[in-house]
Amino acid sequence: MLSGLQNPRQAAAQLLNFALILSTAFMMWKGLSIVADSPSPIVVVLSGSMEPAFQRGDLLFLWNRNLLAETDVGEVVVYNVKGKDIPIVHRIVRKFGLGEHAKLLTKGDNNAADDTELYARGQDYLERKDIIGSVVGYIPFVGYVTIMLSEHPWLKTVMLGIMGLLVVLQRE
């Protein structure tokens, strides 16, 4: 392995392998993003407001195209509220009108009240453009790792440490 470092081409080729793993993963994500027409085609559930359907850590696949029908009442959508950063996964319970500017109201299955309180000040309904996708597929648990990592930053350090230690110990 070290002999590779003496030869710049070998070193560049080894670095390339690593770089291509990263960039291929990123481009696959972007490709999925383009196909689903959503900035974030896979999301991790962060709250329990859709329980028991979705728990924290479940992985949702989103679809943001209206090929056959408009986004309708009963669909579970992920939306962003103006000025807030956290996307919310809730079900559409009311729809008034058709098209781009139809008024949509959402509610978590597990919540007693609808989402009017969650929307921006003065906003009573969502519009289609606030939605970044409808949930079409579901895989449980898989996303929990990301929640663990973001809620317990020390885990990242521990993981990096273990990985580093393994690399050092296993070096021949």
């Binding site: 329980e51 028991p52 359907a53 728990q55 309708d72 009442v73 009963g74 669909e75 579970v76 079900r91 319970v93 009311r94 729809k95 008034f96 009108g97 058709l98 008024k103 509610k107 299955d109 597990n110 009240a113 609808d114 009017t116 309180e117 009573d124 309904y125 949930v135 079409v136 597929g137 579901y138 895989i139 449980p140 393994l166 690399v167 296993q170």
Partner: protein, 221 residues
């Protein structure tokens, strides 16, 4: 090369592949279970009241309370991959003539229910007594299709209908629709279909006759 790190990676990689393939098979197995849901619904008592539909409503507006009777058989939707069935009733009506739109539609959920599979009872947001009863009802069963049989008489709606215009009285051509959403343990979420698809039949009936909302009644009783 063939050290413990590689082995851990290999084991983990193999585990991931197996888990993914098994999940895909389970998800695909949905298509092998026929779906033959049916439902009949009719409104039993309709009222329109002027007031605050919620405690947090800022203004007084007209809202409708639609009581209904529902008989539904969704038992075929419960398979080993069903986590929960979400059944909901919507009221749908075309836009009022005074409204701006042509061919506008209005839809609002008036009632919904989460029906868990016995395998997901522990996740339901229920009180301990109700949960115990629910568990007892399906003791020893991992799939309980009988939960898909609904029979509601003169059911009060969970949600009152409002409209952004604040007016719902005298609305014509209102229909009630029964919908469902199957939430799997893994795989695709599915809703009721408008057309048959392989073994999955569209819902038999499930739409009420059209009715009109009455004028505003004097006071909510």
């Amino acid at each position: 090369m063939y050290n413990s790190l590689t082995r851990i990676q290999n084991v983990f990689g193999f585990f991931t592949t197996v888990a993914f393939v098994v999940s895909a098979i389970i998800a695909a197995s949905d298509f092998t279970a026929p779906r033959t849901p049916s439902a009949s619904i009719k409104p039993t008592n309709v009222q329109v009241v002027k007031g605050r539909p919620h405690y947090y409503s800022s203004k007084k507006e007209e809202y409708a309370i639609i009581k209904f009777s529902l008989d539904a058989d969704m038992s075929s939707l419960f398979t080993w991959n069903t986590k929960q069935l979400f059944v909901y009733v919507t009221a749908e009506w075309p836009s009022t003539p005074s409204g701006d739109g042509t061919n506008q539609t209005n839809k609002a959920v008036i009632w919904d229910s989460i029906i868990t599979s016995p395998s997901s009872d522990h996740l339901a947001n229920l009180g301990p007594a109700t949960l115990k009863k629910l568990r007892k009802s399906a003791a020893g069963k991992s799939i309980d299709p009988s939960r898909g049989k609904l029979s509601l008489k003169n059911q009060r709606p969970k949600y009152q209908i409002t409209h952004p215009s604040g007016k719902v009285a005298n609305t014509e051509d209102v229909t009630l629709h029964v919908h469902y959403n199957v939430q799997p343990w893994v795989g695709m979420l599915t809703w009721n279909q408008d057309v048959d698809f392989a073994l999955w039949k569209r819902m038999a009936r499930g739409i009420s006759n059209a009715f009109a909302l009455p004028t505003v009644s004097a006071k909510k009783k």
